[in-house]
Structures are given as structure tokens and as C-alpha cells.
Amino acid sequence: MFAAKPVNLRNQQVEGLFRLLFGIMMVVLIVPVLMIIVMLVYKGGPAFSWNFLFTFPTDGMTAGGVFPALLGTIWLVVVSLLASVPLGVAAAIYLSEYAQQEHWLTRVINLATINLAGVPSIVHALFGLGAFVLFLKFGTSILAASLTLAVMTLPVVIVASWESLQAVPRAFREACWNMGATRWQTIRQVVLPNALTGILTGIILQVSRAAGETAPIMFTGAVFFLPFLPAGVFDQTMALALHLYTISTQVPNVPESLPFGVALLLVGMVLIMNSTAIMFRMYLRGKKKW
């Protein structure tokens, strides 16, 4: 009575087939990532040393370290965050907490923000060149490059923040409003503290994106080589991503380990930041209960 009928056997076959198919896809996806990391470590590992991290490039960039590029990347990321985080989070708070959700304008703005996140970075680069370098006369500088990166990362910061704000249950807001709390009191004391994890995750993921992009900083503030460190935001700077591009394509006779070392450093930074974000989120999630 309970023995398998032909239809069950067929279902089991199909089940097995799809399981196999999805499994293979997963492997196809994972293998290249692992290969990249293994190759980077294998080929770039030997280049790693304190000297590599903390000295200037020498011999026409065919030897020495990457210190100015590393420092430049940190400059760019920090300044761009200073611009994009306050702006993006504030915009998200407005969209999520103050704007009328059903209003057509709110919907258009939400949609536009999401689409803006898909604009290619080279387009942001041209915008940055026109707006910050030329029109606002910042020249090619850390400031112009960072603002360009900020414009590029803003949509994602807004969307990520908006989504974490929306994830806070509406019942909390209603409870506050019904006690006479203003929107700001509600946001400040209940909504924002609970949305913070998601917002921070969104921001940290954007840090790694800003650190890795080459196009937006190429025309706006990053240069191939500087014999000195930038002293302020109006100086130009070197950056890891651009440095990697330069020594791989523009400079002859670079030992193979050098570009791989730079790539490893870049990927390492991104991985460390992303896993920090994930661990931080897990930590805060564990504390959050509703």
C-alpha cells in the first residue's frame, strides 16, 4: 500500500537530477574564486614583507614597496565615507521615516536610487571630473576623487540604510507615536538603534567597493607615481587599484610577484573588511531579539 509507485520513482529521479545540477553550478561558482585566492597567495605571497607595506616604490616602480598607494587608498576611502555616510543615511531616514510612502514622488525617488546604483563607474568618473575637478575647481585631488567615490557609493548606502530602517517592525513606531513621541524621538530612540547593524553592513561593503575601484579616481585625483605622501585633501595621491593597473600594464620589467603582491593586498583588505562586517552583524544580531 505504501510502496513506491512509478510516479514516485520518476519524481525521485527528477529530484536527484536537479540536486546534482544546482550542486554543479555551486562548484563552478566557487572554484574560480578559490583559484584566484590560491594563485594570488602563491604568486604574490613572496612579495609580502614589512618593506613592501611600508616603503616607497623604487627603480621606476619595478622594486620597493607600495606605502604611498596603501596610504592613498585609506585617504580616499575615509574621505569618501565622511561624505557619503552622513548624506546617505540622512536621505534614507527621510525616505523611510518622513516621506509619504504611497506618494508617487517617493516611489520615483526610490526607483531612481536603485537604478543609480547600477550606473557604470566610468560614468561616475566623468561626472566627478566635470563637477568636482573642473566646476568646483578642486583640481585633481583626494577631495575630488573621494567625492566621486562618494557619489558612486551613495545609492547603495541609501538603499541599504533604507532597507534596514524598513526592517524595523512598524509596531515599534506605532507604540512610540501613540505615546506622543515625535518622528525624530521615535527615530532616535527606537528605529535607528535597531537599524544600525544593517546600515553599518551596507557601509562597510561600500568601503571595499570604494577601495577597489580604479575608474572613478583615475581622472579625478589618483596618479601613477608621487615621490611624496599627500599632506591634505587638496593633494593628489597614489592608490592601490591604480598602482596595480600601472605596474601591470604601463611599466616594463616589473617582477611578476609585485603586481600579484599588490592584488593580494587589495583583495586581503577587502576580505578583511567584508568579514568584519559579517562578524559584526552576527554579533549584533545575536543581541537583537524581537
Partner: protein, 268 residues
Amino acid sequence: MDNSTATQKPLASTIAIRARNLNLWYGSFQALFDINLEIKQGMITSMIGPSGCGKSTILRSVDRINERLGYVRIEGAIEVLDQNIYAPEVELAQLRKQVGMVFQRPNPLPISLFDNIIFGHRIHRAPNEKYSKQDESDIVEAALRKVLLWDKVKDRLHSKATVGLSLEEQQKLCIARLLPVKPTVLLMDEPCSALDPKGTAAVEELIWELRGEYSILLVTHNMAQARRASEECIFLLMGRVVEHRETDQMFMSPSCQETANYIEGRYG
């Protein structure tokens, strides 16, 4: 808990909530028709009626939370303590200090128990008013004692509000949270519908304890609850008040056929 004491006690003379020719539309749909009501101070008044009859709409009009939807239009007036709450000079924060709301599902805020109770108080006090830790502790203790929760939670006031509290206790917490700002009216939107029978009994008992001190307007789907836990009862149907009488009388000898049918469970 029986209603015999209620009928013996002199009827409160003043009116807590008065609706005058209240009409309300959601967009083009009219939800309330010419509502005229006088809800007495210090009493528990329950509102019953089938889904969509306008009970919650009335409730949500009394603390003006309906307006948030944006497409709500109101004609007529609602007075709380003889003041029209739809007058232009009314400040919503002040209104909501007088009128507290308890929701269907307990919704303690994701902050500590202590902060939950003191939340409203902190919101409503002036920035230059100084309250010491001791003052705040006293306020919190008084509120928690009032809802019979103090002994249960006194040792973990600073842990997250929901940790280790049953739904019943969470709902009591949500009631306690309203008390520090000294409201006059408590609105309760099916406060027991998420609770088990034991929890329901406990919360009903608490509501009963609070009468006299607060005027309570209680929406319920549960006829037995209306009968047990209220002194006056309003029966609504399709956005109109059908009957408003003392609860005992309404359930013993309803004056309208619709009321009788509903009470006997012929529709709903």
C-alpha cells in the same frame, strides 16, 4: 468579577469622550455615519460588532492616529474631556499624553524594561526638568505595581523588555508604559486577542482594576469579554451605533433585533 457592583456604584456624571455627528471616510469609502456617543468618565466601555463595523476606526480617531494614513477625511467632532480634539490648536503630543493606546499584539519597545516604562515620561518632560535616577525608579515601580508586574520583573528591569516575559506580561507592560504620563483615557484595541485564556483573564482583571482611575474604551471581538469586563457596551453595525447601554441590560434584553442577533451569534 461581576457587574453588580458597577450598577450599584453612582454613575459617573462627567463625559470622557464625546462624539458629535462624526462621519469618517477612507478615500471615498464612508466608514462611520453620524456617530453620537457619550462615554462616561472612569468607566469601562466596550465596543462590539462584526468586522468592519467601525470599532477600530472610532478608537483610532480618538488619539488621531488615523490621520497618518493621509486619505482619511473627518466631519463632526470628538471631544475628550469636553475639548474638541480636532480643533486646530490641538497639539498631538498633548492629546496622546491624555489618551493612551493598547494594541492587539503586545508591542514592547526593543529597549530595556525600565526604559520602556519611562519612555513616555522622558518624551513629555521639558528639557530643563531634572529627574534623578531615584525619581525615575519610583515612577517605574509605581507603574509596574499598578499592573501587578513588579514582583515578577523587579530584579531584571535593565534587561531587554521581552526576554522571559509571556505575552500576557508583555501586554501588562504595554499598559504600564502608558501610566507614567498620567493619561485620562485608555484605548484598548482587542488587548487580549493574542493571549491564551489564562492571560486573557489576568489582563481583564487588570483592566477591571484600572476602572475609576481611567476611562477605558475597549474594542473586542469576544462577546463574553465585553460582558465580563465592561460596564457599558456599544454595539456598532456598518459604521452606525445601534445600541449603547449598560452591559448587563444589553446582554439581558437588547432593545434592537440586530443586537440580539449578533449577541446570540447569528452573524459576526
